[in-house]
Symmetry: none
Amino acid sequence: MLRRTRQREAVLSALLQSGRSLTPVEICELAQGDVPRLNLSTVYRQIKLLLEGDEVLRVDLPGQATRYEAAVCDADVGDGTHHHHHFHCEACDRVFPIHACPGAMDRLAPPGFRVAGHELTLHGQCADCVGAKNG
Amino acid sequence: MLRRTRQREAVLSALLQSGRSLTPVEICELAQGDVPRLNLSTVYRQIKLLLEGDEVLRVDLPGQATRYEAAVCDADVGDGTHHHHHFHCEACDRVFPIHACPGAMDRLAPPGFRVAGHELTLHGQCADCVGAKNG
DNA sequence: ATACTTGCAAAACATTTGCAGTGAG
DNA sequence: CTCACTGCAAATGTTTTGCAAGTAT
């Protein structure tokens, strides 16, 4: 059975409040705002529990450290689709959710292939980093 | 410039002969059949070079160690664009190149974001596996 | 001969685990 | 009171790097 602990709340809260995907280290640093002595091990243990409970999603971008995000992101569309994509900022290395989708990808696959789903990752610079560079 | 070395051959050869995705450790063990003193560091260095030359594909399955496979793209288009995407077959676990691209992704990013590029991964079942299942 | 490559060891980074102490139920 | 959870340190696993020696061109 699962206990309700401050650490658990802090981890989930960090994920929810950030509104984006976080690495375990980022989660730990954020959550330490609530629980200063929070340990990375505990973050990993909570992530594992939260994954099993489908409260967080694993975000695995090729070549990047594994990140996690709250399963119930902002305003959840009621249409049943959690579908979204990611933007990876090459400057600050943060990952943002993108609630848009070009759709109709199925045509791209070779004939005979059955497309079950897709992942799209944009990369470049986020608004913050574009701003920092130009101004 | 790139030199043609026994280690480079051995790494590529291991990938080609196995016919599947391998972890760096697996590659190293296999390639040591050709070059006994082959080192893991060298495998990683060769992988990096081979990735840049599009001779090898990275296969990143969530929760598993990163694997690599030979990018034996038959008929390679000579139109100057190396841009392509990937299809991951959930049945046979192979990765295929897709020489098509929906394009115009830049609109999907939030305002202020600068999009430098994108990666698209389709997943489902390849023609072989669809055929094997139905017939 | 030149300088890209290699092998080895050690560093850097990511994730897990043992264990004694803490705290939720 | 119990037992799951926590913090810390140390183990494990993955990938990168410094450097002297090796080798393709």
